[in-house]
Symmetry: C2
């Protein structure tokens, strides 16, 4: 594989820095994070000027308004970014923890110690705040990072990264700890995904197209993040008031995110009373209903027929698919067939069904009597989140600081040889 | 991607079985493992007949004798395989453990529970015993498996798998839990590496060519295993008797394995006395010495000049590369440049250097005053080993049963919604 000069240069810098970072103390890392937070606010004008150039380019390219909103920074937003860096500073440092240690019969003392991954690369889209978030989380966990943001935000990303580098390196963080790829071409991005020997972990953050491209092209280890086709199953033996409240929260509170529900499954046992009630409530909240024939027949309001395609769709919008099922077994089978292994919830007062759902549904987070909207590093109490993993390997569900670490075995001997 | 009918059929069987396996009790799994062990011995004639066909084919293909030895089974070897299955039965079942559980301010109770990966595929070469080992470890951890052994051992592998399937399914293990790919073509193997949605984890076990092919082609999550370019650094402040004993053990006790050392680094501080002594000992043990000019000048016996290429080489043989270094910093820099992140050891009586080595050397296992030969699931006390990971993601070092598991968050609520 051939790599561009920029990739070789920054890959080498990152790898070399990663060896030194492993021994940098928590105090130095925290001082650097504080200096970064201060510098982002002090040098906000540089960021805003770069951001203005990005917005100008976006307008000239006919970019949609919603996209330009996501791209836009203000002094308040920059203060928010700096506050996020300070929150990362305040978290406990996971590096160096000896998770367990034991003695073997031959006297060897073997410990399992938490260490940095080494070099983490993050490929992401629009929002420039990810540059600061990702670099801060990597720094806190003693990882060097190689950031590759979208072309839309390249000027903003470069300005943020430059300020972070200046502040971090002046506090004793080894040079090369923070890197940003300036060439945002697709070809270079694909090369980055193949930098075995330079990159220990690659995390894509963005839409389906990006995730797909990374999974197909990457030869370095990847954590796949967050498509969320989430379900709520309303069981026959539930508190219907609670069920209504949970359906509306999980669908309507913020429909654009990965932990909102997309399909509602209703137990036939209570469909007669629950369908008209929940369809009215959803409709009153502006949700378009795509439902099966059986449930459509139970309500006079407007609905559309649901298709198999709908069941596979992550709407991220005010739309919901609805299906009446013949109890919990059909609900679980439906979920395990159509879900993306993100977040699933059952509403029930039945003990055995609750346990069955928790055990048999295959997803990163399975809930009883709660909204799926809680699948999030902050809501889980991790204090940070680099993304939500939908794979089972390495990290599953919300990824906090620990997901950015590896382990190493340390072995203390006194001359042991193997017989 | 197009898949062969066999892959689709067995992939679907495995995926469906994996959902059911998640709820199979430890008792049922242990009964199945006992039945498998008994059946392997009872039906040994079937395995031996299939193995004879493989050996016949290998001879007709002009296969080397060493390879034929690795392929060959006997009644004793089959009894050894059955004993291995009983050892897996005796291990504690990691599935279902709730690693931790905590309560959030809103009353949600969140638990982190150990669950199966789902479907694990293992691609391996020659030895037919891997078929039984891998299937037993997957079964113990409630994973469905898709085994793809080499073409040389296909008849033996099919016979072993058939006996395991019969025994396991008769004990209540869901059909589809154990699968073997009968088409051993390279094209089918590459397709297998791309079965996202069917395979949750792929583990290659074999030589460099196989590992390379998997890393380059796979789109499913992979744990890369075990190339071992391991080092011993003999520090100036060491017990020279211990150092000699450790060098000889780590190089000579079994040179063909991944945790044997390939390069010896000697502190200049003691080179004058230690080089002649250790070169003689190595030479007496039949080890060929490739050394730098400085050390070669210190001994009259036969040595060859070392090249940079030597430092990158995993000999797996009675050959060692030697370099005199200017203390621990040069030793660590050399190791971090040339190693494969497997196992590294320092011999020293100096406290600070021991700690520095443990902290700064980047490898799965770092030792003080012990032979690298202990990097092994059994020697570490895990009771089993599916391979030794040389990547940092998911599992690092010897992989026991826990490396074949994932986690899931279980969340108990009483109507919580997100504000």
């Amino acid at each position: 594989m051939e790599f561009t000069d920029e990739l070789i240069k920054k890959g080498t810098l990152a790898r070399d820095a990663s060896f030194k970072l492993a021994s940098v103390s928590t105090t130095v890392k925290n001082n650097a994070l504080e200096a970064i937070a201060a510098a982002l606010v002090e040098r906000a004008d540089e960021i805003l000027a770069a951001n203005a150039a990005d917005i100008e380019n976006a307008k000239n390219n006919g970019t949609k308004k919603a996209m330009i909103d996501r791209l836009s920074l203000s002094r308040e937003r920059i203060e928010g970014i700096a506050e996020g860096v300070r929150q990362v500073k305040a978290l406990a440092d996971p590096i160096g923890e000896v998770i367990k240690m034991w003695r073997r019969p031959n006297g060897l003392e073997i410990g399992q110690k938490r260490v940095p991954m080494g070099v983490i690369s993050i490929i992401y889209e629009a929002r420039p705040n990810v540059t600061a978030d990702a670099a801060a989380l990597c720094l806190k966990t003693s990882n060097a990072c190689i950031l590759r943001g979208g072309s839309d935000a390249i000027n903003s990303n470069k300005a943020i990264a430059k300020i972070m580098q200046d502040a971090a390196y002046s506090e004793g963080i080894p040079e090369g700890a923070i890197n940003i790829i300036e060439d945002t071409s697709r070809e270079t991005s694909v090369q980055l995904m193949k930098m075995n020997g330079y990159i220990d972990l690659l995390i894509p953050r963005g839409g389906k197209g990006l995730i797909r491209s990374v999974v197909e092209n990457a030869t370095v280890p990847v954590v796949e993040t967050a498509a969320g086709n989430c379900h709520m199953y309303v069981d026959g033996k539930c508190d219907a008031d609670m069920a209504e409240k949970l359906v509306i929260n999980a669908k309507v509170q913020r429909p654009s995110v990965c932990n909102a529900i997309e399909t509602l499954l209703i137990d036939r046992e209570i469909a007669g009373e629950f369908v008209p009630r929940i369809f009215k409530a959803l409709s009153d909240n502006g949700v378009e209903i795509c439902a099966d024939e059986e449930s459509r027949a139970l309500w006079d309001g407007e609905t559309k027929p649901v298709t198999d395609e709908d069941y596979y769709t992550e709407y991220n919008d005010y739309i919901i698919a609805v299906k009446i099922v013949d109890g919990i077994d059909e609900a679980i089978a439906h979920i395990n067939k159509y879900n993306t292994k993100h977040s699933e919830t059952i509403v029930t007062e039945d003990y055995s069904r609750a346990q069955k759902f928790l055990n048999e549904v295959d997803a990163a987070a399975v809930y009883v009597n709660a909204s799926t909207r809680f699948t999030d590093g902050f809501e889980f109490g991790f204090g940070a989140e680099i993304g939500i993993s939908t794979q089972k390997m390495h990290a599953r569900g919300p990824m906090g600081l620990e997901a950015l670490t590896s382990i190493k075995y340390i072995v203390y001997g006194n001359g042991q040889i193997r017989e």
